[in-house]
Amino acid sequence: MTINTLAKGGCHREQMACFRKMEKVIVAMQDPDMGMKMRNQRLLITVIPHAMTGHDIITWLTHKYRISEEEALHLGNMLVKYGYIYPLKEPRCLVLRPDESPYRFQTPYFWTSTRWPASELDYAIYLAKKNIRKQGELMEYEKERYSLLHKRINHTWDFVVMQAREQLRSSKQRRKADRIVLECQEQAYWLINRPPPGVNNVLDTGLERPNNFSCRVTLVSNFIIEACRKALGRNRVKSSICLEGFLKYSEQYLNHDPIMQGCLPSNPWISDDTAHWTMNAEIVPVPTRLRVERWSFSFTELLNDAMGRKEFMTYLEKEFSAENLYFWQACEDIRHGENSKIVEKVEDVYKNFLAPGAARWVNIDSKTMDKTLEGIKRPHRFVMDDAQMHIYFLMKKDSYPRYLKSDLYKNMLAKAIVPQETKKSVFPFMRRQRHSSPSPAQTATQAAEEEGLAKGAGANSAAGSHF
């Protein structure tokens, strides 16, 4: 079957928790006061007591949990799929129908959680009983499984057949209604625990998670004590301030969230029109207004957008402080680039930005400069971090606010386009052709080529600035 044939272990915990919750629902449904109304149901000539209709189940769930009918139907369906309620009319089809079809509660004896995992022996006895009762007229897959079991547990076969005969004999002594009920219950149990081929196995839980290292009690306790002590010394911010932060953020980005507010000219997925994507591509001649507005939200937004970064660079060049941004980009390249190139890149950065008399000397405070120069002697990925941070905050506190107030930015904002909302076609049959876009691998190779050329020309361009 699956790889989860081991005994109760990791992921069965998850299933058991779900079962317990479902059982609570079932018990609540059977509550004499608040539970469901049950009635007798006619099945051919016998009358089955304590049955209910699909419609009743859905109504009860809708009232109890205050959910929609669709959701109640879904929840009820889950209860049927997991075997807590079984259908009387079409017993092989475990689906909840929202009409007058009769259903019954499964007896706790046959709850999946009670006897889990279902044993092969029990299955063999069940198939043997069915075989005897139907005189060999089993379903195809049941016949196959029967013969397989016969081979596998052959040594216990006498026991199996004997048990089957005994159970059949004792069931003959019951009333017909009881017998039918018991047969239905058992059949429902096996439909879930040994589903026919082609039906989803609801008990399939995927990869098991057996690992748990908390056997090392002393080590774990020590670890927890250390962690708690460290955490106690932490600086925390008042809740009211933090939570206001979330509100402000969500409000600020509300217009930029297509799921909440839609997008202009139209959501490409709805209208099959990729204009929105072309207008917001990495590099466009004129960016959209929303995009330019976003640059003013935070410095990270500006730097993360390729166009924004280019604009900012132009501004800095005017102010003669462009070396800051070049330095920052070079440091990012070191941090995120290949391990093998770190030494070489650090050398470059030193030569271009930190050495006395360098072409693009950056102004960092002496303490950080000393620390960095020390670190360069043994270059590693994070050796430029302090200097990079210093320059980043310098730009953020000084150049960035001035950029936002500058003419360059204001012009950009004024020029920016506000796309017209596409008039929706009244004729829905005229579907637009959906065209494929160039593969990102292609744009990446083009970019790499361009970059190679640029590097060859000797300019110190950081990776990722061309797209």
Binding site: V217, L232, Y249, P258, D385
Partner: protein, 430 residues
């Protein structure tokens, strides 16, 4: 004692007795060391100072935990839903599934969007990884892999590499990187390059800000940072006491932290440079299946088997919201925020996707459609659509039809539809 098995993270000479054997990575006074099992036992017993017993240690850790809770509560002056009362109630969301991507032969275990906002990659139990153009429904690449249970996949930021994860069953606990090329006939599987190695299944992966570094989480209880080019391990993160199931990188200015969630019900925040565990949150009642940062980087959400999703504030250092409902019985396996962070999409094991209002704590809407567990939900990079992968071997793309003018459009569409049906009826009758 000799019957006890433990997960060996590495093999080599023990730091204390120098004998080569399976080693456990442990921390002694905040330093990571590798000891063999015998030395670990000896050290653990010696770790008890005079007058200490296991009982006293346990009691001490309990009291410290309580003290920590008190400290956290001191600055808790208001709840999220109280603050959110002044926010407008969400207008009725109308999110519908309109694309279904069929092509996998078995459960789809993971999916990820490409930065071009329309392509996605998905991996499945049938051993295949497929790159789709979700907009046109074309399959662009299909990479067959030698093992099943390809647990995770991700696109690299520069879009030229696609990451795939192998996992479980034997020696295949590797992470591989494949460069995507234009030539569709090229055998991509042959260009696969193995990067990461764990001693147990690899559950989650993510590229850091570039194509050159990879972060992985594993069933052996650790997370690890790798250099893609050389396959070298750059940093490892120890602290979980059970399988780590998920991780997410912080979208912060400094870009140095990430959060991981695991079967020990804890969510830990780590510093990538030092390997230290910065913060830890333990309030879930069962395995944490998925963690995801809030877009501003100041908080994160987690989805768990206890059928709840929780929202943790990093600056206040506490859990600030629990998203749960009586009628939701099955565990949540995945979650993701919308672009503004106002909505949290969570996929559950009862085949549904619930959409939560993050600020108010209520459920906005519920999406049906999948016929088996939802294994992954991801919002597209520009926030226009929601992609979901499921064990029913399909992927679905859904989006919102929430703007008002839609109603007129749909009404007219309905008129046309009714008209066409009537025409059909007439022709059939004759």
């Amino acid at each position: 004692m000799c019957d006890q098995t433990f997960m060996a993270a590495t093999f080599g000479p023990c730091d204390s007795c120098s004998k080569p054997s399976p080693l456990m990575n442990i921390y002694i006074k905040n330093e990571a060391t590798n000891y063999c099992s015998l030395c670990v036992e000896m050290m653990a017993c010696q770790g008890l100072q005079k007058g200490e017993t296991l009982e006293s240690l346990k009691r001490e850790s309990e009291t410290l935990k309580k003290k920590l809770e008190e400290e956290r509560n001191k600055l808790n002056d208001v709840e999220l839903h109280q603050v959110a009362e002044k926010v407008e109630v969400l207008s009725a969301l109308s999110i519908k599934t309109r694309r279904v991507l069929k092509g996998h032969g078995n459960k789809v275990l993971c999916m990820d969007w490409c930065k071009d906002k329309r392509r996605m990659v998905s991996s499945s139990q049938d051993g295949k990884v497929i790159v789709w153009d979700a907009f046109t429904l074309n399959k662009e690449h299909g990479v067959p892999l030698p093992c099943t249970w390809v647990l995770a996949c991700a696109y690299a930021p520069l879009r030229s590499l696609c990451l795939i994860m192998n996992g479980y069953l034997g020696l295949d606990n590797k992470c591989s990187v494949i460069p995507l090329s234009l030539d569709k006939n090229e055998n991509l599987a042959a260009k696969k390059k193995s990067v990461a190695m764990h001693t147990n299944y690899v559950s989650g992966c993510s590229f850091t800000n570039s194509d050159m570094q990879l972060l992985t989480s594993s069933g052996d209880g650790t997370c690890a940072l790798w250099d893609v080019e050389s396959g070298q391990l750059l940093q490892s993160f120890h602290g979980h006491t059970a399988d780590v199931l998920s991780l997410d990188l912080a979208p912060s200015e400094t870009g140095n932290t990430f959060v991981s969630g695991g079967c020990d019900m804890k969510a830990n925040v780590w510093d990538m440079r030092s390997g230290q565990n910065i913060q830890s949150f333990e309030s879930h009642e069962s395995d944490i299946n998925c963690v995801k940062y809030y877009p501003s980087g100041d908080a994160f959400a987690s989805a768990s088997d206890d059928a709840t999703c929780r929202f943790y504030d990093l600056r206040a250092d506490r859990e600030v919201a629990v998203y749960q409902k009586d009628s939701i019985i099955f565990g949540a396996s995945t979650c993701d925020f919308s672009l503004s962070g106002r909505l949290l999409f969570a996929g559950y094991n009862d085949y549904t996707i619930n959409v939560w209002d993050v600020l108010k704590g209520t459920r906005a809407t519920i999406l049906f459609g999948h016929e088996n567990r939802v294994s992954r939900v991801r919002v597209s990079p520009d926030g226009t659509a929601l992609g979901s992968a499921s064990w029913d071997s399909t992927l679905r793309v859904s989006w919102s039809f929430s703007t008002g003018s839609n109603y007129i459009f749909r009404f007219i569409k309905l008129l046309f539809w009714v008209n066409s049906r009537l025409v059909l009826e007439f022709t059939v009758a004759f």
